[in-house]
Amino acid sequence: MIVLLIVIPASAGIVAFFVESDRLRRILLLSTAIVQTALSLATWMVSPAPALTGWLAEDALGRLIETLTSILFLAACFYAVAYLREERRQTHSDFEEGFLFSNAREASFTACLLFFLAAMTLVAVSQQLALLWVAVEATTLASAPLIYFHRHHRSLEAAWKYLLICSVGIALALLGIFFLVVAASNPDGSSVPLMVQNLRSNAHHLNAPWFKAAFVLLLVGFGTKMGLAPFHTWLPDAHSEAPSVASALLSGALLNCAFLGILRAQEISVAGGLAAFSDKLLLVFGLVSMGVAAAFISGQTDYKRMLAYSSVEHMGILAVGVGLGGAAVFGAVLHVINHALTKAMLFLVAGNLLAVYRTKNSAEVSGALSVLPVSGVLWLVGLFAITGSPPFGPFLSEFTILKAALDHGQIFVAIVYLTLLAVIMAAMAAPALAMAQGTPGAHVAALPARALALSVVPAILGIAVLVMGIYVPPVLTRALREAAHVLG
C-alpha cells in the first residue's frame, strides 16, 4: 500500500510526460491526485504494513505530513487544471519588463508535478534516513522545472539559485547522515542500520560530539531546504517567480517535508537525551528566522515575496515550537497543518490577483474586494489567519506555542516571539489591506470569464482554515499527540 503511494504518482508522471492530448493528461493528473488522497486517507483507517524491510513505514508524523501533502496536491491540481487552461488563452507578455515569453511544455510541467508528489510522499514515509535524503534531493530536482515554468530570465535565475543552494544544503545533510552513522555506531565499531527506529533505540550510547556535528549538519542541510534563515535565500526568489500553483505546493508541502528531516534528527536527539542541545539550536534558528522574516516583510513591495518571507517566519515558528518541547511540540505539529492550509490558500489567491492586476507590486493593487469579491475576501481571511488572529487555525497553534514558552519559563523567547509576531502583523497588514480595500485602479485587466475552480479551491482551503480554528477533530488531536510524543 505504501509502495503504491509512491509508485502511482511516479508512474503517472512518466505516462504524463508522453501523453499528447491536454485533456487526457489533465484527467490523468486529477485522477492521480484523487486516488492518492483516497489512499492516504485510507491509511488512517487501516495503518499500512511496512514495506522494503521496514524502510517505508508510516508513523504518526509521516502519516500527517503525507496526508496533508496529498490533500494540498489535490487542491493544487484542481486549481492547476483551470490555471493551465487560462495560461493557454492569454498571451505571455512579462508583467515587469513587458517582453514576450513562452511557457514550458505542459506535459513536462504535469510530469514534474507528479514526480514532485512522489518524491514528497517518499520523504514522508521513508524510515531510512539515507533514503529520506535521496527523496528530499529528488524533490529539489522535480520542483526546479516547476519554478522555471515561465521561460524567462527571472524564473531561470530563481530556478538556478534554488538548484544550487538547495543542492549544497542537501549535500551537507548527507554529510550529516554519515556523521550520524558514526555517532550511532556501537562501541565495537559495528554500525546500526540507518533506520529511525533503530537509531532511537540505540540512542542511549550516541557519541555526543559526533552526534552534535551530525545534528548541526542536518539542521543546516534540511534547514536550507526548509527555509530557515540565513539559509532561506532561495525561497523568496523561487516563490515569487514560480507559477502560484507551484508556490503553493512549495510553501504548503515541500517545506514541511524538509522540516520532517529535521524532526527525524530531533527524535533521535530526544531519545539520546541530547534534547537540551538540539532545542537550543532550534530555538536560535527559529527566532532568527522570525526576525529575518520580519525585517524583509516590513516595507516589502512584492506581495508574493511577502508571502514567501511569511513562510520563512512560520518555519521559524515551527522550529521554536519544537525547540521549546513539551506542549509546544503539539502546537508546532498543529501549526504545520494550519500554516500549510493558510499559505497554500494565500498563494492561490495571489495567483488570481496576479492574473487580474498583472503586477506583483502591492502598491499597484487596490480594490480587490470589488474586482474579485471571493478572492478579495479570501485574501483578507488569509491575512488575518496567517497573522495569528482568532478565529482561524494558526491562532490556536501559535497560542499553544506561546503558552508552552511561558509555562516553561522561557520568558525571553516568549517576548521576542510575540514582538516579532506583532511587527510582522503590522507590516503585512498595511499592504495587504490596501490591496483588498479601496477603489480599483484603471489598469486592471479586463476580466475573462475565469474558471470556477480558481476561486472555489482557495475558498475550500479558507473554510478549512476557519474550521481548524474553531474545531480540531479529536482524531486529529490524537494523531498530533502521538506525533508530538516522540519529539519530547
Binding site: A130, L141, L156, L164, L172, V181, P193, P236
Partner: protein
C-alpha cells in the same frame, strides 16, 4: 595499504588546491575527474582484504560516472557555452588558495576534535573529506561562472562521498546507488540549466543572475 590510503587522501587534497588555483575550466573539470577516480580507488582500498562483489562493483561504477560521464557532460556544457576560463573571480586566485589553506586548518582541527572509533585506517580521512567539501563551497562562493559553481558542487559531493565511503561501508548498496543517481541527475539538471542560461544571456556569468533581490525600494 595504509600508505596507499594516505597518498590517495593527499592527492585528494592536492586536487582540491588545483581546483582552487587554476583559472582554466578544462583544468578544473579534470581535477574533478581525478577526484572521482581517486574516490573509487579509495572506496575499494578501504575495505582491506575481504572484497565483495558489491564492494568492488559499486565503487567502480561511481568512479566511471564521476571520472568520465560527468566530466564529459561538463565538457559538453563548456563547449555549448563556449567559454574556456574563469575570468576575474570574486576573489583572486591567491586569496582563494589562502582560503583553501585556512579550510585545511579547520578540517585538521575538526579531524582532531572528531576522532573515529575504532581508529580507522587513516587519521587523514576526516580532514581530507571535510577539506574537499569546504573547497567545493569556496569555489561556489568565489567564482562567477555557473559551470565553475557546478564543479564546486561536485567537489562538495566528492568530499561527502569520500567520508561516506570511509565510515559508511555498511550503507546498503541501494542507498549508494540512489546517492550516485542523485548526483548524476543533479549535475544533469544543472547542465540543462547552464544550457538555458547560456542561451538566455549568451554567456554563463552568474552576475547577470541578480535581478531578484530585496533592494531598498
Amino acid at each position: 595499504m595504509i600508505q596507499l590510503i594516505n597518498s590517495i587522501l593527499v592527492l585528494l587534497v592536492l586536487t582540491g588546491f588545483m581546483l582552487l588555483s587554476s583559472s582554466r575550466l578544462s583544468a578544473c573539470i579534470r581535477a574533478i575527474a581525478i577526484q572521482g577516480v581517486l574516490l573509487g580507488v579509495l572506496a575499494i582500498s578501504m575495505q582491506d582484504g575481504q572484497l565483495s562483489a558489491a564492494g568492488v562493483l559499486f565503487p567502480l561504477s561511481s568512479a566511471v560516472v564521476k571520472g568520465f560521464v560527468l566530466p564529459w557532460l561538463l565538457f559538453r556544457a563548456m563547449r555549448e557555452a563556449d567559454t574556456v576560463r574563469e575570468i576575474e573571480p570574486l576573489i583572486s586566485y591567491n586569496l582563494s588558495i589562502i582560503a583553501g589553506a585556512a579550510a585545511l586548518g579547520v578540517s585538521l582541527w575538526l579531524g582532531h576534535r572528531l576522532q573515529l572509533s575504532p581508529q580507522p585506517r587513516s587519521s587523514l580521512l576526516v580532514p581530507a573529506a571535510f577539506f574537499t567539501s569546504l573547497v567545493g563551497m569556496i569555489v561556489i562562493a568565489s567564482r562567477r561562472k555557473a559551470l565553475t559553481q557546478v564543479l564546486g558542487y561536485l567537489a562538495l559531493e566528492n568530499g561527502v562521498y569520500a567520508f561516506g565511503s570511509a565510515v559508511a561501508l555498511r550503507l546498503p548498496i541501494l542507498v549508494e546507488l540512489g546517492i550516485l543517481l542523485d548526483v548524476f541527475v543533479g549535475v544533469f539538471v544543472m547542465g540543462i540549466a547552464i544550457f538555458h542560461i547560456s542561451r538566455e544571456f549568451d554567456h554563463i556569468d552568474t552576475d547577470k543572475l541578480e535581478a531578484l533581490a530585496d533592494r531598498l525600494s
